[in-house]
Amino acid sequence: MGVITRGFSGRGRRDENLPPGQYLTKDFPVLSAGPTPRIDIDRWEFGITTETGMRHRWSWAELLALPSESVTVDVHCVTKWSKLGTTWQGVSVDTLLQDVESAGDFTLVHSYGGYTTNLPLEDLVDGRAWVAYRYDEEPIAAEHGGPARLLVPHLYFWKSAKWVREIQLLLEDEPGFWESAGYHNYGDPWREQRYWGD
């Protein structure tokens, strides 16, 4: 650890309810690996593609017509900030997977703008993940991933892909954008799985 600077206290606070190494934040930092995609809602679509190439698609209107849930969750970013009690509204991934037949155990999530992240399928089901389109009772701002983002709060927030476009089901695991650049393949904040090999 570096030399401690008298008089400097960071914006974050330690809290015993947080995963190891995290700091509580009041604001909502915006992190991005690239420019914010501007997506025309009339052309927006979300898809699930199976390992056989079978494609399921939803337009914006179709997504909004699906049963949705309001959830309050804690989010943890690998850059060490955590935000507790965030409220989102979205469609459970279980709902989206209802008519999807697949033997794939792995997923690669694609975003508008090219970002990707990978997750085991089992981390997207059983009420653990949503395609969210409202945050704090408002449409999700573009810089926070709007119009819709993936929400997978039990893993580090880089897995909650902003500007989500597609979930691709795969027979083999394929590391995504950060996973292939040093970050952990799974990313459990409670086991502090930040970097590859942790």
């Binding site: 930092p29 915006v30 992190l31 991005s32 690996a33 690239g34 420019p35 914010t36 970013c77 690998v78 850059t79 090219g114 810089e143 880089w158 954008f177 950060w178 292939s180 650049a181 040093g182 970050y183 930040r194 970097y195 590859w196």
Partner: protein
């Protein structure tokens, strides 16, 4: 105004921990569109879990840098080559 990107000069400190030469003055060729330019001209997204440098022409990822405890990862897939000025000695 939304924070966007900063100039590639910003990479100098991070890459300076790895290399004994200044990588930001090296010239690179984008593997996406073929544009050539100094690394210092790249568009760098530094509010992220790592540093991402993108081509000023086509915005394709040129390089990714992640600093972990005791290690760093550098992905240069997006660059076909980097050209360095090297003095001839002797």
């Amino acid at each position: 105004m939304t924070y966007t990107w900063v100039d590639g000069n910003e990479l100098a400190g991070a890459l300076g921990e790895l290399f004994t030469v200044d990588v930001t003055v090296a010239r690179g060729r984008c593997a996406g569109c073929g544009r050539e330019g100094a690394v210092a001209e790249a568009h760098v997204f530094d509010r992220a879990p790592g540093l991402v440098a993108r081509c000023p022409g086509c915005e394709a990822v040129l390089l990714r840098f992640v600093r972990g405890p005791g290690r760093a990862w550098l992905d240069l897939r997006g660059v076909t080559y980097l050209e360095f000025a090297v003095p001839d000695v002797g």
